[in-house]
């Protein structure tokens, strides 16, 4: 198979890559662009730890072909912090003990980010719905929900 040249914006930066026609967005990010914060837990859309934000919407990047990202804007977990300053969601996850093994964390935080972008002050039910595609085996989710609630409050207050 011959490789295809694509160009896309990743975390605000224009990137070019040569990809196989069947290569996934997860693989493009991890293997070609070396953005290994995007995790790989199942490869078939079940776990959500490969979640990235594509043109403002969360997707399971293992279910998206790299070529489908042509000309589009991708945000990965690496795009959230400002230098060494954590994004308020990241800080809230740290402060609330919402991170244990951390393997679900990048996807979880990006799902929360997309949720807060849409719904800055979500109810508990809106939070659980927004995170329902992201599996976590460690935390029982309680501290994750608390972290999102806290971050929403802090971001609103600026």
């Amino acid at each position: 198979m011959s490789k295809l040249a694509i160009s896309l914006t990743v975390n605000g930066v224009q990137r070019q890559a040569l990809v196989e026609p069947n290569q996934t967005l997860t693989s493009l990010l991890r293997d070609e662009l070396n953005l290994t914060g995007t995790k790989h837990g199942c490869g078939v859309g079940d776990c959500g730890c490969c979640t990235v934000i594509l043109d403002g919407e969360t997707v399971n990047s293992c279910l998206v072909l790299a070529v489908q990202a042509q000309g589009r804007e991708v945000m990965t977990i690496e795009g959230l912090a400002q230098g060494i300053r954590l994004h308020p969601l990241q800080q809230a996850f740290v402060d609330h003990g919402a991170i244990q093994c951390g393997f679900c964390t990048p996807g979880m935080i990006l799902s929360a980010k997309a949720l807060l972008d849409r719904t800055p002050q979500p109810t508990r039910a809106e939070i659980t719905k927004g995170l329902s595609g992201n599996l976590c085996r460690c935390t029982g989710y309680e501290k994750i929900v608390e972290a999102v609630q806290d971050a929403a409050g802090k971001m609103e207050r600026g």
């Binding site: 991890r30 953005l35 290994t36 914060g37 995007t38 995790k39 790989h40 837990g41 199942c42 490869g43 078939v44 859309g45 079940d46 776990c47 730890c49 990965t76 977990i77 690496e78 959230l80 912090a81 954590l86 990241q90 800080q91 996850f93 740290v94 402060d95 609330h96 003990g97 991170i99 244990q100 093994c101 951390g102 393997f103 679900c104 964390t105 990048p106 935080i109 939070i127 659980t128 719905k129 995170l131 329902s132 992201n134 599996l135 976590c136 085996r137 460690c138 935390t139 029982g140 989710y141 309680e142 501290k143 994750i144 929900v145």
Partner: protein, 784 residues
């Protein structure tokens, strides 16, 4: 009872959390090496078959293939978990015993080539009868899955403590019940993966997603024939384990052999489906219990039988079958107990250890029966439990010593925390409330192999400039928070702020640590860390005392400052020396008191690099009877939970609406992490109670080997979980601390069962409590 600490007991954020929040933390899949080869396994498509012939020639001929290994290419060494039950060969010799049994491994330039080569290996099989259930495997005419284990009995246990029959004769009530559970999957979110590298110095380095670097090191050394000193195992960040990652995997071993063969780094990874195939997770259990009680509720005796569907190999099974019995010795006073347990081989993936190892379903049935006994005797279930509860200092009939037991406090806490009094017996139809208790070891009293080895060793090195310390530990941070726990213990012991402590862990080069299993790390590695911290502090203070010309007993370190008792002492020479050394620096010490930094710098200048060590192994524990090594522990964590449920009579669906959870962890090292373990335990228990079941077809293939079809709890399934931390102060634990990682799961299933019974009157005997199962039971109840 809780002491005043500076670091311990706080809610300090975890040290690893910031890097995990940004994607900087590296897991095995994020670490690559130049020149890597990709490995792949050929696994059996048959659940039980003879291997007549293996032809690898086509695979070897495929361009890009670098090596192909089968049983004849590796030493014929059996391995497993318990040395008494080594029954696995890396590659099948002449027989495969489950769908997924390993036959060959390939290394190639990339994964697609390796997978293609696996397809090209030709194996001629002669199918054998497939034994998928305990009944099939124990039928008279069943073939033996292992020649060495007649009648497919992997392990059998018979124990009696006290005189059960005599006790039954004095009882006013005899209650009997049975329970069946289904096999579960660990469902950690990061699939197992490893990379092996063979150096020209003769050292094999294996990077692996494991809970037990030390046991992996031993197994790899034993199977490859390399010395322990030639095998180094390094664990990067690990995406959860929960038990199934507590032994060497076939990919750990195959990648090692392929790296030795090719001289190149070899990466091997399980797909999610292969995680299910490897399994080593929760057994399917069948329990039967007969419990005798007096009219006043006094528990007199338990007669208990258990059968474990073990799958094709022993794995942890021998320990599992013992735990299934021994953990019922407490936390209630139970003077007489008889247990007959057996673990049976079947043609399914091997089961092993999973959170609450062996004890979860036994606990579920026992606690369910206690509720029924309470009802029959006209007692509140909480009253019955309190009446029989052991106290600190009690010893169970099977010699488990309750050196601390905050069980009553846990029960009182969930009783008031849940509003039990206002709810029990007063809820509308469909709503139910139930409670249960549980306890678990705080570290296995003995290593998996017979040895007098220390269970952990610690090295703490002070920075040469005195600014901080680094703890070197071979223990395994797998998400539970052990790195932060050790940092906090070291900070407290030395007397410095947490920010001045770094932890390097998970590398067998750092010492011995048996790993993250049996809820051992906080107590055991914590002990060794505390000892090393105490020693380091003593070294610093001794040097300082010499310099100041005073007794070391007058000195202490607190919050990074040197405390001098018994009148003022002139330390200006030390300070002046330090300031001169750091001319031009911006953070010169200015405090009234001398700092740890100055004292530790001085100690370095006088004695060279400061390294202190610590070690731990439990004292000789427990009884002399056969099997006494399983269940004995230096301490026991315990917990109580109240579950509130809603049962839909139309659909059979159960919603758990609220859980109130109290756990006695002795002393919280990190309060947030303790709650996090409690909440994680509740979610795993809830999944097991309501959804989780690995299912097979008639050929022994798993039909739901994905996280889409194997349902673990999502955020939508989780109720509000209210955590109450009880601290009884464990005398055998560092700073009073003991376990929380596994004991916390024990009450979840029975609390839900009891709540469902409260809502419906149903005594359900089988998990998971799927809507269909509950609906059928409701229908039967209506008809009856």
């Amino acid at each position: 009872m809780s002491r005043q600490f500076d670091v311990i007991g706080s809610r300090a954020p975890r040290k690893d959390a910031p890097n995990k929040s940004t994607g900087k933390a590296q897991y095995i899949e994020d670490i690559t090496f130049p020149g890597e080869l990709a490995g792949a396994l050929l696994q059996s498509p048959h659940a039980h078959a003879k291997i007549l012939d293996i032809d690898t020639s086509k695979a070897l001929a495929l361009p890009g293939v670098v090596a192909v290994l089968t049983a004849k290419d590796v030493p014929e060494v059996k391995y497993g978990v318990s040395p008494a039950r080594y029954d696995e060969n890396l590659f099948a010799m002449d027989r495969v015993r489950y769908v997924g049994d390993e036959i060959a491994a390939v290394a190639a330039v990339d994964l697609p080539t390796a997978l293609k080569a696996v397809e090209l290996i030709q194996v001629e099989y002669e199918p054998l009868p497939v034994l998928l259930t305990v009944e099939e495997a124990t039928a008279n005419d069943a073939p033996w899955i292992h020649e060495e284990y007649p009648d497919n009995i992997c392990a059998q246990v018979e124990q009696e403590f006290g005189d059960v029959e005599a006790a039954f004769a004095q009882c006013d009530l005899i209650q009997e019940g049975s329970f069946f559970s289904k096999r579960q999957d660990g469902a950690f979110i990061e699939p197992n993966q490893c990379v092996a590298l063979m150096g020209h110095d003769g050292v094999l380095t294996l990077h692996s997603s494991t809970q037990v670097p030390h046991y992996v090191q031993r197994t790899v050394a034993m199977v490859t024939g390399l010395g322990m000193s030639q095998v180094r195992v390094v664990k990067p960040y690990v995406g959860g384990g929960f038990g199934p990652k507590a032994s060497a995997t076939p990919i750990d071993l195959a990648a090692s052999f392929l790296a030795i063969r090719t001289g190149r780094p070899v990466r091997m990874a399980y797909t999610r489906e292969q995680v299910f195939l490897f399994s080593r997770a929760r057994h399917g259990f069948t329990h039967h219990m007969k419990i005798g009680a007096k009219k006043d509720g006094t528990l007199m005796a338990l007669d208990h039988q258990a059968t474990l569907d073990g799958g094709a190999y022993s794995s942890f099974g021998i320990a599992t079958v013992y735990y299934a019995g021994s953990l019922l010795g407490g936390p209630y006073k139970l003077p007489n107990m008889r247990y007959a347990g057996r673990r049976v081989f079947t043609n399914k993936p091997a089961c092993g250890a999973q959170r609450g190892h062996g004890g979860v379903i036994a606990r579920a049935l026992f606690e369910q029966q206690l509720d029924i006994i309470a009802e029959k005797l006209g007692m509140d279930p909480i009253e019955l439990r309190l009446k029989n509860m052991m106290e600190t200092g009690d010893v169970t009939c099977n010699d488990l010593a309750m050196s601390s037991l905050g069980m009553k406090e846990c029960i009182e806490a969930v009783k008031s925390g849940s509003g039990w009094g206002e709810k029990k017996g007063k809820l509308p139809p469909g709503k139910g409330i139930g409670m249960a208790c549980g306890f678990f070891v705080s570290g296995a009293g003995y290593p998996i192999y017979r040895s007098e080895t220390y269970h952990c060793t610690i090295m703490i090195k002070a920075d040469e400039d005195g600014g901080g310390i680094t703890v070197y530990t071979a223990s395994a941070e797998i998400g539970q928070g052990s790195d932060t726990t050790m940092a906090m213990i070291a900070a407290e012991a030395v007397g410095i702020p947490l920010e001045q402590v770094r932890v390097k862990s998970g590398d067998t080069d750092f010492g011995i640590d048996l790993g993250a299993y049996s809820s051992r790390t906080t107590l055991m590695t914590g002990h060794a860390t505390k000892e090393a911290g105490d020693n380091l502090k003593a070294m610093v203070l001794e040097t300082l005392a010499g310099e100041l010309g005073i007794q070391a007993a007058r000195l202490d370190i607190k919050n990074g400052l040197i405390k001098i008792s018994g009148g003022p002492v002139d330390f200006s020479a030390i300070r002046t020396g330090y300031i001169k050394e750091h001319r031009g620096w911006q953070d010169q010490p200015q405090s009234q008191e001398l700092t740890f930094r100055e004292a530790a710098r001085l100690a370095y200048l006088r004695r060279g690099t400061l390294v202190a060590t610590g070690k731990y192994k439990p004292p000789v524990l427990g009884g002399k009877y056969k099997g006494a090594t399983v269940g004995t522990s230096p301490a026991y964590g315990c917990s109580a939970q109240v579950a509130e449920v809603n049962v839909d009579f139309e659909t059979g669906q159960i919603i758990v609406e609220r859980v109130t959870d109290a756990h006695d962890c002795g002393q919280a090292v990190n309060l947030t992490s303790v709650e996090a373990q409690m909440q994680g335990s509740v979610s795993m228990g809830l999944g097991e109670a309501l959804f989780e079941e690995v299912k097979f077809d008639a050929q022994g293939r798993i039909i739901n080997a994905s996280l889409g079809e194997y349902h673990i709890p999502t955020v939508m399934d989780m109720p509000e979980v209210r955590c109450i931390v009880v601290e009884s102060g464990e005398p055998n634990g560092p700073f009073g601390a003991k376990e929380v990682g596994e004991g916390a799961i024990m009450p979840t299933i029975p609390a839900i069962l009891n709540a469902v019974r409260n809502a419906t009157g149903l005594v359900l005997e089988e998990t998971p409590l799927t809507p269909e199962r509950v609906y059928q039971a409701l229908k039967k109840q209506k008809g009856a």
